[in-house]
C-alpha cells in the first residue's frame, strides 16, 4: 500500500483556508500535487462551499462523497449536486466538547478514514504518530484519539464506485495569453475587502455596548482593521472581514467584548 499527501496554503495566516490532498493506492502513485478529480471531498468549513475561489466541489467524481463539517443535515445540501453522496457531521461541536477547541485535524481524518473503510487501529496509530511528530503527547493526544474514535463510530464505510466528470479542457495558445498589454497593474488597490475573511470565524466577538466606553483599545489591537468608528462615535465590528482571532476579547480592559460560537443562537 502506498500513500502520499500534499498540503497547500498561501502565506501563513491563522484561520486562512487550506487545502490538502491525499492519495492511497495498492500500486505506485504516478501522480503528485493537486487532485483534480477526487473520490471524496472533506469540507472542514461549510462556508467554503460558497467560496468561488475555494470551490471544493470542482472535479468531485460522479458517485463520489462530499463530507461536510456542519450542524445542518445532509438534506440541506441535497441540491448542491445530484450525482454524489452527501454526508454531514458536526466535527466542530465534537472537537469543542472533547478537546475544548475547534481543532479538526484528527476529527476530519477519522471521518475520511471511516468512509474509506480504513481500519480503526490504523487511524489511531496515524493520529498518535502525527501528534507525536508535532510534539503533542499525554492528555491532549489521548483526547484527540478519543475524538477520532467518537467520529469513527458515528459514520459508516462506503463502497465507492466513481467516474470522472469528464469536463472538457482546452489549451490556450500563446497568442491569446499575450494579447493584453503584458504589463497589467493592480490599478484598483485596496480590494482585499472583497475577500470575505469573516467566513473563516469559529467564534465571533460581540460588543456589549452597555459596558463599552469607546476607549479604542480594540481598534488599536485588531490586526485586520476590522474595528471602525461609526458616525455616532461608537466602535463597530466589520463582520465581513473579522477573522475571529479574538484578540479584542483578550485586550478589552472592561471585558466588554464577549465571544459567541458562530451558528449558535
Amino acid at each position: 500500500m502506498n500513500a502520499q499527501d500534499f498540503p497547500l496554503y498561501g502565506a501563513e495566516r491563522r484561520g486562512a483556508p487550506v487545502t490538502a490532498f491525499t492519495r492511497v493506492s495498492d500500486g505506485d502513485i504516478l501522480e503528485r500535487g493537486y487532485i483534480f478529480d477526487p473520490d471524496i471531498s472533506v469540507v472542514m468549513d461549510e462556508s467554503l462551499l460558497d467560496d468561488p475561489l475555494a470551490n471544493p466541489l470542482a472535479g468531485l467524481r460522479r458517485g463520489g462523497v462530499l463530507l461536510v463539517n456542519t450542524r445542518r443535515s445532509a438534506e440541506a445540501y441535497r441540491r448542491t449536486r445530484e450525482d454524489i453522496t452527501i454526508l454531514t457531521v458536526d466535527l466542530t461541536d465534537l472537537a469543542l466538547k472533547v478537546l475544548g477547541r475547534p481543532v479538526l485535524s484528527a476529527a476530519s481524518a477519522a471521518a475520511a478514514a471511516r468512509v474509506l473503510s480504513i481500519a480503526e487501529a490504523s487511524l489511531q496509530r496515524a493520529v498518535a504518530d502525527e501528534l507525536e511528530e508535532i510534539g503533542v503527547g499525554g492528555g491532549l493526544a489521548a483526547k484527540n484519539l478519543e475524538l477520532a474514535g467518537l467520529i469513527y463510530a458515528k459514520l459508516k464505510p462506503m463502497r465507492l464506485e466513481t467516474r470522472e466528470l469528464g469536463a472538457a479542457e482546452t489549451l490556450v495558445p500563446l497568442s491569446v495569453i499575450v494579447s493584453g498589454s503584458g504589463s497589467e497593474d493592480a490599478v484598483s488597490t485596496g480590494n482585499s475587502y472583497l475577500r470575505r475573511t469573516g467566513d473563516w470565524r469559529t467564534y465571533r466577538p460581540v460588543i456589549d455596548y452597555a459596558r463599552c466606553t469607546d476607549c479604542m483599545v480594540c481598534y488599536a489591537y485588531c490586526p485586520e482593521s476590522a474595528m471602525s468608528v461609526k458616525d455616532d462615535g461608537r466602535i463597530s465590528i466589520d463582520y465581513d472581514n473579522c477573522k475571529g482571532c479574538l484578540i479584542c476579547v483578550t485586550e478589552c480592559p472592561l471585558r466588554a467584548i464577549v465571544k459567541q460560537q458562530e451558528g449558535v443562537a
Binding site: R32, L171, I177
Partner: protein, 412 residues
C-alpha cells in the same frame, strides 16, 4: 532491511544531512526550505546530530561561511530557495573557485516578481554556470539518496566542487511519500571521512582564491573547474555502483522510463517527471510507443546519455519548467545541442514550457504534449513552434483577477 517512512521531501533532505554526519550548517530561512533547517536544528538540540548550526544574516554570508568551513575540513550542509539562492549566488562561484565542496539543497521556488512561493527552475538554473554539480530529484527517496551521492561527488579529490541537490517546493518539499531511510552504518561505509589536503587552520595560514589579474591565470583555473565538473560524471558512476550494492538503488545521470522501442520521448526533470510518467503509462496501455527521459544530473550535463538514449527516436519534446525571456526554455538548447551531431537524430524536437510558478499540469496537458509529438511525427515538421502551456479555465481565472485589479466587483 527496509526502513520505510512516510516523510516529506524537506524531511528527506534533512535526513541526508544527518546521515552524512555533517559538521557545520550555516543557515538562513526562506519558504519553502525553512522546514529543513528547523528539522536539523531540532536534531542538533536533541543531540541526535553532532553538528554546529548557526543562523547567519543572509544567504551571502551563509555560503561564505560554508566555503570557509569546508576548507578547514568540515563537512558542510545548507539549504536555500529562490531569491535566497540568487542572493548567495556570487559566493557559489567563489566556492567552486576555492574548490570548496559542500552540499546545498535548493528547494525550487519561482523568482519574483510577481512574488509566489510555488516552484519552477529559474532559481536553480541561475546557478547553472557557477561550477557547482547539480542533481535534481523527482521524489523524496531521490532527495535522501542524491543528497548522499552528492557528498561523494563533491568531496572526491577529482571534483572538489559544491553540489546542489534540487527539489521542487510544495510538489516535493511538502509532499509526504514512502521513503526507505538508509541505515547509518551502511552510510558510514559508503561515505568516507572528508579530508582536505591543505586545510585552513589558525596555526598554518593558507590562501585561497588569490587575485590573479592576468587572464591566462584566470583561464587556467577556470579550465580546471570545467575539468573537475566533467569528472563528476565518472565519480557519480562509481559512487552509484557502491550505492546500489549497499542500498539496492542505482542512480545514473538520467533515468530511462519505458524507453524500449519508444518513438515519442518526453525529456523532463524534477517532480513533474512523475506526471510525465503517468501520461506515458496511460499511452502505452493504448499501444502508443511513448517514453520518458528524466534528466537527473544537470551539471555536468549528461551529453552522452542524452545522445545515446534519444538517437533514432521519431519525435522528442523537452519540457522546460523555466523560461529565459527572449529565448525560451533553458534545457531545450542543451538537449538539442547534444543531438545535433548525430546522423540519426530525431527529426523534430518540440520545445515545451510549462509549470512556471508552480502552475499545475493536468493529465490532459501532458497528453496534449504527446498528441502534438504524434502530429509532428505524421507531418514531419522539423522546426515546431514551442508550446507554452496554459488552460482555458486558468486563463478565465487570470481574466477574473485582472478585472478585480481594475476595480470591477466580481460576481459571487
Amino acid at each position: 532491511m527496509k526502513n520505510d517512512r512516510l516523510i516529506t521531501g524537506n524531511f528527506a533532505a534533512a535526513w541526508a544531512a544527518r546521515l552524512a554526519r555533517v559538521d557545520y550548517i550555516p543557515a538562513y530561512p526562506i519558504t519553502p526550505q525553512t522546514e529543513i533547517i528547523e528539522t536539523l536544528a531540532k536534531w542538533v538540540r536533541e543531540g541526535l546530530m553532532d553538528a554546529r548550526l548557526v543562523q547567519v544574516e543572509s544567504e551571502h554570508s551563509m555560503l561564505t561561511a560554508a566555503g570557509a568551513a569546508s576548507l578547514t575540513g568540515a563537512r558542510v550542509f545548507s539549504a536555500t530557495s529562490s531569491q535566497g539562492l540568487l542572493y548567495g549566488l556570487e559566493m557559489l562561484y567563489n566556492m567552486s573557485g576555492w574548490r570548496a565542496p559542500m552540499v546545498l539543497v535548493n528547494v525550487s521556488r519561482a523568482l519574483a516578481a510577481p512574488i509566489t512561493l510555488a516552484p519552477d527552475h529559474n532559481d536553480v538554473l541561475a546557478a547553472r554556470d557557477s561550477g557547482s554539480v547539480q542533481l535534481h530529484a523527482e521524489n523524496a527517496q531521490e532527495v535522501v539518496d542524491l543528497g548522499l551521492l552528492a557528498y561523494r561527488i563533491a568531496e572526491d579529490r577529482r571534483v572538489r566542487l559544491p553540489a546542489i541537490v534540487n527539489l521542487d517546493g510544495f510538489f516535493l518539499s511538502f509532499t509526504r511519500e514512502k521513503v526507505d531511510i538508509p541505515e547509518q552504518a551502511k552510510v558510514d561505509e559508503f561515505l568516507p571521512e572528508y579530508k582536505v589536503a591543505d586545510p585552513f587552520s589558525a596555526t598554518r595560514p593558507v590562501s585561497k582564491g588569490s587575485s590573479v589579474m592576468e587572464g591566462f591565470a584566470y583561464s587556467y583555473f577556470h579550465y580546471h573547474i570545467h575539468e573537475a565538473a566533467q569528472r563528476a560524471r565518472e565519480v557519480l558512476r562509481e559512487a552509484s555502483q557502491d550505492y546500489e550494492s549497499l542500498f539496492g538503488r542505482r542512480y545514473g545521470p538520467v533515468e530511462a522510463f519505458m524507453l524500449d522501442d519508444a518513438e515519442y520521448v518526453l525529456v523532463i526533470s524534477n517532480s513533474f517527471a512523475t506526471l510525465g510518467k503517468q501520461a506515458v503509462v496511460s499511452l502505452r496501455k493504448d499501444g502508443v510507443p511513448a517514453g520518458l527521459l528524466k534528466l537527473r544530473m544537470l551539471r555536468p550535463f549528461p551529453v552522452q546519455e542524452v545522445a545515446s538514449t534519444l538517437r533514432g527516436r521519431k519525435v522528442v519534446a523537452v519540457f522546460d519548467q523555466n523560461l529565459s525571456p527572449g529565448s525560451g526554455g533553458i534545457l531545450y538548447p542543451e538537449v538539442t545541442s547534444a543531438l545535433y551531431h548525430l546522423r540519426d537524430r530525431p527529426k523534430s524536437v518540440l520545445p515545451v514550457v510549462g509549470g512556471l510558478g508552480g502552475k499545475d499540469i493536468t493529465k490532459h496537458e501532458m497528453m496534449a504534449v504527446f498528441e502534438r509529438m504524434r502530429a509532428l511525427g505524421r507531418n514531419g515538421e522539423t522546426a515546431p513552434a514551442p508550446m507554452y502551456l496554459m488552460r482555458d479555465d486558468e486563463m478565465a481565472r487570470v481574466n477574473r483577477m485582472l478585472s478585480v485589479a481594475r476595480g470591477v466587483q466580481p460576481k459571487k
